[in-house]
């Protein structure tokens, strides 16, 4: 792991005044973020909060309307050579090259990243083994289940040993066994000093995994900081989150008084 861009204090990701609108609807409305290096960072928010849009802009897959993004101290849009070599991405809602087998997909990705062929094959075999995909490595990705897809996507994102890993909903639709596998790999990876940024709306998961959280709702950042700080006095992150996004006051039970009544 090179430490050049992640010296003490320098954030792994710094976002300033980031905006994105799709037609009339503003998806991301001027957010500022500073994620410390070497941490497990959770970007949480309800569906439609702008998490995917934010991560797409941070990773260079979507052009912002305004604002700057720096990853490992380099501007994503002005210095893509440095940034793209140092980040790994697992986007949500985008396909993989699904007509390749799992093994072929990793071989393709690694070589496209400019790694030597022998090294790619070695790393791919180890990743497939650790992620419990060895048995399915010769099957086309199009026939994989959701959990297997997430795992092969994670393997492809890790192959070039990035400094910062961006994962959009890595646990969405994943069974508990696969989730535990993914978790183990990610914990080992952050242990080595790398940074993981992932989005989720499952608070229990974020609470148990992350050191640092940013809460997003309706295109804005409601809170960010170390987990304990964001949680504050609330008994759980779930409670703190509901208060932050203002969803606690709604009483949903009064209109459904027939539900569970006499049948």
């Amino acid at each position: 792991m090179t430490e050049a861009g992640t010296e003490a204090g320098a954030p792994a990701v710094r976002v300033k005044d980031l905006w994105k609108a799709f037609g009339q609807s503003v998806a991301v409305a001027g957010i500022d973020l500073a994620f410390p290096a070497g941490k497990f960072i959770g970007l949480v928010g309800p569906n439609g909060a702008g998490k995917t849009t934010t991560l797409s802009m941070v990773t260079g897959l979507l052009r912002p309307d305004r604002g700057t993004v720096e990853v490992v101290g380099r501007d994503v849009w002005r210095d893509p050579v440095e940034v793209k070599a140092r980040v790994g991405v697992l986007p949500e809602g985008l396909r993989l090259f699904e007509r390749l087998s799992g093994h072929e997909l990793l071989a393709y990705t690694g070589r496209l990243r400019g790694l030597p062929g022998a090294e790619v094959d070695k790393r791919a075999a180890q990743l497939l083994d650790v992620l419990d995909l060895s048995g399915a490595q010769h099957k086309l990705v199009v026939d994989y289940s959701t959990g297997m897809r997430k795992k092969i996507g994670l393997a492809a994102a890790l192959l070039h040993n990035p400094e910062v890993l961006f994962l959009d909903e890595p646990f969405e639709g994943v069974d508990p066994v696969s989730a535990q596998t993914i978790r183990g790999v990610l914990e080992r990876y952050t242990g080595s000093g790398a940074t993981v940024v992932f989005s989720s709306h499952v608070m229990e998961l974020v609470e148990s995994l992350c050191d640092w959280v940013a809460v997003m709702a309706a295109g804005r950042i409601r809170a960010q900081g170390p987990l304990a700080e964001v949680r504050g006095d609330a008994p759980s992150l779930q409670q703190a989150f509901l208060e932050l996004v203002g969803a606690n006051s709604r009483d949903t039970t009064s209109d459904l008084d027939w539900l569970g009544g006499a049948r």
Partner: protein, 527 residues
């Protein structure tokens, strides 16, 4: 009618009505289809009635019915999304018994454009054939039997194959259905020409005699038999059709019961042991680094991705058929051989659209115009490994058929120049006018991007033709000035020009690609 039946008929009506909702374009397409189908049905009805009394009426009616029944059997395999009520798994969670469900679905499926078309054909057929009161009575029965058998056939086939239809392989099959239809059209065309030359419908009479015993055409055959007084034959044919209907209903009900009581196949599939695929890279013929990696993936996709495969097979087939058939008919010019190069060059267009949203994996590894150049060059080289030998082969075959060997170098040179121009403009428009290719169904352009696709392909082809102008000018000049012995010069000139212009095109396209990665990704992610 039971409530189940009424509900299912209502559902079908609602689905039909909903075809009228949605975007203006979709509504226009829906109404246009409706009008065309009704028009064809009406014309067919009138045509069949006009046939009344003709000696070959029975042959034609029986064959038409049989073809229509074949259509009913095949349709659910190729267009599983055409009728949403065809998929019984959608009703699995409801507390329904198979028998009322079968009855309800059968009646509900009589609602629609397809059944109306079938009704028109059956009515026309019996009017053409029925003579006498007894025949008319049988005719009513025959129409009902034909219609029900057709509908039940479609349902039974769909229910029996639902596992296939909802699986990946089934969807791949649906994508390739366009090819089957294109080939089928050629066969029909060929058959029609053959008929024209062999003296009319009489040639089909033996086929008609056999088909008159095969349900549901046998119901129509029964009407004809009654008209001729052969009551025994008529009864046998009717019973045959009724038995077929009963058999289909039974098979359908059994398939439904099995579907409703056995686990969903989609989860079983993942647990299957994997078949060992040969992925050893073997002695590598492809160059190392990004170039070889890109080529390898591109070539794998030609074979494995149904959309890419369909596009390639179409290009290869048309590129061969046009020059060779023209040569066969004796009307051909050797210059038609350039058509192969042109058709195959089209595959360079919309390169990133062929990636679908998986383009992000490519985008993440392109950080400079040089990366983009190597990426595009790899794709062009992959294309050339198929195109170059194929275009050469087509040119040689065409030349051999026309016997004009002296013109071979010249035509080859023109082909190579055209191919180069297509690759150059294709690379450039891939960067400038990318559009999505939907992966499901037979459409090749996502809604709202048709204009973009037209600009990309037709603008590019016109540009390619213009780019070829210098080589064409040299060819014309050599012919006009009487220096025909020097036309062999066009081979090296054309090849060099083609190579040069390809490199220039890639060099122009690369910085555009590198600068527009997010825009390209957005454009190709709509399918």
């Amino acid at each position: 009618m039971t409530t189940t039946t009424v509900t299912l008929v209502r559902l079908k009506l609602a689905l039909l009505r909903n075809g009228l909702r949605g975007s203006t374009g979709r509504r226009a397409a829906y109404i246009a289809t409706l009008v065309v189908v009704l028009l064809v049905a009406a014309l067919q009805l009138i045509g069949l009635i006009a046939l009344r009394g003709s000696t070959h009426a029975v042959t034609l009616c029986v064959i038409l019915t049989a073809v229509l029944a074949l259509g009913w059997a095949v349709m659910p395999l190729f267009f599983p999304s055409g009728d949403e009520t065809l998929d019984p798994t959608r009703l699995l969670m409801l507390p329904l018994r198979p028998r009322p469900l079968v009855r309800g679905l059968l009646i509900a499926s009589l609602v629609g454009i397809g059944p109306l078309f079938t009704l028109c054909l059956a009515v026309g057929a019996v009017i053409a054939l029925a003579h006498g009161a007894a025949a008319y009575a049988v005719a009513v029965l025959a129409v009902a039997l034909t219609l029900l058998t057709c509908v039940a056939l479609a349902r039974a086939v769909a229910a029996a194959n639902i596992r296939l239809l909802t699986s990946r392989k089934g969807r791949d099959l649906a994508v390739l259905s366009g090819l089957v239809i294109a080939v089928g059209a050629q066969v029909v065309n060929f058959g029609a020409q053959k008929l024209g030359s062999s003296g009319g419908l009489g040639a089909l009479d033996p086929a008609g005699d056999v088909l008159a015993w095969i349900p549901p055409a046998s119901a129509i055959g029964a009407v004809d038999a009654v008209s001729h007084g052969s009551y025994g034959v008529a009864a046998a044919r009717l019973v045959l059709c009724a038995a077929a209907l009963a058999g289909l209903l039974y098979a359908w009900q059994r398939a439904l019961t099995r579907l409703m009581t056995s686990p969903d196949g989609s989860t079983l599939q993942a647990a299957e042991p994997t078949r060992r695929r040969r992925t050893s890279r073997g002695p590598r013929l492809l160059p190392d680094g990004r170039t070889g990696t890109v080529m390898e993936r591109a070539l794998r996709y030609v074979w494995r991705d149904p959309k890419t495969k369909a596009a390639w097979v179409t290009s290869l087939a048309i590129g061969l058929i046009v020059p060779v058939f023209n040569a066969l008919q004796g009307t051909g010019s050797i210059y038609f051989a350039c058509f192969a190069a042109g058709m195959l060059g089209i595959q360079m267009y919309n390169q990133f659209g062929q990636d679908t949203s998986a383009f992000w994996m490519v985008a993440m590894t392109i950080s400079s115009p040089h990366d983009a150049y190597v990426e595009l060059r790899g794709r062009a080289l992959a294309l050339l490994t198929i195109t170059l030998p194929y275009a050469t082969l087509v040119t040689v075959v065409t030349t051999a058929m026309l016997g004009d060997w002296r013109a071979l170098p010249e035509v080859l040179g023109l082909s190579f120049a055209l191919l180069g121009a297509m690759l150059a403009t294709g690379a450039w428009s891939s960067a400038r006018f990318p559009y999505s290719i939907p992966q499901e169904g037979y459409k090749n352009v996502a809604p709202g991007q048709a204009g973009l696709a037209w600009i990309s392909i037709f603008g590019g082809m016109v540009a390619a033709a213009l780019l070829c102008a210098p080589v064409i000018a040299v060819a014309i000049w050599l012919h006009v000035s009487g220096a025909e012995s020097a036309t062999w010069l066009l081979l090296p000139v054309g090849a060099a020009y083609g190579a040069g212009i390809t490199v220039a095109g890639l060099r122009l396209a690369a910085p555009r690609t590198a600068a527009r990665l997010p825009e390209i990704l957005a454009a190709v992610s709509k399918g």
